[in-house]
């Protein structure tokens, strides 16, 4: 057994010794991309000594730079994208982006992240896309696996999805919104109305939370 295993390892090492240079260069940049992004998010947003409104603003900018929002939005809307008018598409992407931004800016308050460990990359079914695997270690000691799906476009990486504990954010939004479209019975227009109502509610919650924090 031992000798067999030794030879298998040997063959693999030889194989990888030749194939590694290009692969590891790719791997490094994908991991570096997410690493730099998370460093930036932690220093400029999460731990920055600014008020919540400024944090949200900074995160929005970071999100716009790092994620391919129109592609994610198109993915999330799925088969309903085709039927949507130009105006509906624009309104949807605007609203969807805001939902994501407001959700995350609230998370920065709630979860104290101790460290993020970047382990390695994992291939996807498409060669221009890759997952960067990370472990987010919270102050409570809980470890959550977070996989970042990146897509290379014009030699630059963009985030197109994040898996938290194996659950794809994009897919979860897609399922949710598809159900809303079905249940409101008013197509994409009904979804946009629902999202806009939700945004108003989220902004109000955030403001009442901030003012409560000030009076304390």
């Amino acid at each position: 057994m031992k000798t067999v295993r030794f030879f298998i390892v040997l063959i693999f090492s030889i194989f990888f010794a030749f194939s590694v240079p290009s692969a590891s260069a790719n791997e490094k940049t994908a991991i570096d991309f997410v690493k730099e992004l998370s460093d930036k998010a932690i220093s400029n947003v999460v731990n920055a000594d600014v008020d919540n409104a400024e944090k949200t603003k900074r995160f929005r900018k970071l999100f716009e730079e790092a994620a391919d929002i129109p592609t994610i939005g198109r993915f999330v809307l799925g088969r309903h994208w085709r039927k949507a008018t130009k105006k509906e598409r624009t309104s949807f992407i605007k609203a969807f982006k805001e939902i994501v931004v407001l959700s995350w800016s609230r998370r920065f308050d709630d979860y104290a992240v101790q460290t993020i460990e970047f382990i390695n990359t994992r291939e996807t079914g498409r060669k221009e896309q890759v997952y960067v695997e990370s472990k987010v270690i919270q102050n409570t000691g809980d470890i959550v696996n977070v996989d970042w799906r990146l897509r290379k476009k014009n030699d630059a990486y963009k985030i197109i999805d994040i898996n938290i504990a194996s659950a794809s954010m994009a897919l979860t939004y897609k399922k949710e919104y598809s159900s809303v479209i079905k249940n409101t019975g008013k197509g994409v227009k009904g979804l946009i109305e629902t999202l806009e109502k939700k945004i108003t509610q989220m902004i109000e919650e955030e403001q009442s939370k901030t003012s409560a924090a000030h009076t304390e």
Binding site: D68, P70, T71, R74, K94, E98, R106, D110, A167, K174
Partner: protein, 279 residues
């Protein structure tokens, strides 16, 4: 004890039956092929009933489970809760071990066995997870996952009263895991009352400790979603599939991205949208 268990079960059945009759089944869309494909993919034919039970569970959670979990969090320091979590997780490792073997994951089964021995001794009856610190990782296996590895399908999505999101495969899995668990065997075959009570304490602590861990994530999902029921359904399924695949990309996610047309022509025009400010 057996009588009360039967009573509880009868009550559960009654709740399911009444809610089922009040709400009925979801109707498959007939004329639209895409909608029909989506209906099949969603695999939730009992959706109206499930939604009713989901609402019922939420009430129970709001008035009982969540307040208890909150109280537990307030009353205990983090290291104590970590100890409880480690203890519970150590007690369930025989079941994990059995399922490692049933899935023929020999390396993992060795790790689970090693963890159990180490944590039960050096880790003082499982209060401390010394094995993780020594680099022997913890992993999750249960009979629901084993069935999936053996090729059994999940069946329709079910929201169970008091229990929450599940499916027939995971219900069967829970039942088998109960019998695979040597500690259940010990507490059910004892004359000592203290040992019998330990079984109930463990079951109760499991619910409270699990809910405490999930306080923030579930609040988060609820606060940020516009259809909490669907978010939970989707999250449950993806989370379980992730466990079955041990963290590798699940078929569902890969299929979705394979089916998606990434071609640029549309998104180049829409790219300007990325920087539009929401007013």
């Amino acid at each position: 004890m057996v009588a009360t268990k039967t009573k509880t079960f009868a009550l559960l059945l009654a709740v399911v039956f009444i809610l089922g009759n009040l709400t009925g089944c979801a109707v498959a869309p007939k004329d639209d092929t895409e909608a029909l494909a989506e209906f099949k993919e969603t695999n939730d034919p009992l959706e109206p009933t499930n939604r009713a039970i989901f609402a019922f569970n939420k009430i129970i959670d709001t008035i009982v489970v969540k307040p208890v979990a909150r109280g537990y969090r307030l009353a205990t320091p983090q290291f104590a809760r970590n100890g409880v979590n480690n203890l519970l997780s150590n007690l369930s490792s025989p079941v994990v071990f059995a399922n490692d073997v049933l899935q023929w994951k020999l390396k993992e089964s060795g790790e689970t066995l090693g963890r159990f021995v180490l944590n039960s001794t050096v880790g003082i009856a499982g209060l401390f997870d010394v094995a993780t610190e020594m680099g022997i990782p913890k992993h999750k296996e249960d009979f629901g996952q084993t069935l999936a590895v053996w090729g059994v399908g999940e069946g329709p999505y079910i929201v169970f009263p008091f229990v929450g999101p599940t499916n027939p495969r995971d219900i069967a899995g829970e039942a088998v895991d109960f019998f695979l668990d040597p500690f259940n065997y010990i507490v059910n075959h004892t004359d000592k009352e203290t040992l019998e009570n330990a079984g109930y304490v463990r079951a109760g602590m499991r619910v409270v400790a699990k809910r405490e861990k999930m306080l923030d994530p579930i609040d988060d999902l609820e606060r940020n979603s516009v259809d909490f029921y669907v978010t939970m359904r989707s999250f449950y399924r993806q989370y379980r599939n992730g466990l079955i695949k041990d963290g590798a990309t699940t078929e569902e996610i890969e299929d979705e991205f394979d089916d998606f047309d990434f071609s640029e022509n549309e998104s180049i025009v829409e790219n300007k949208l990325a920087s539009i400010e929401y007013e």
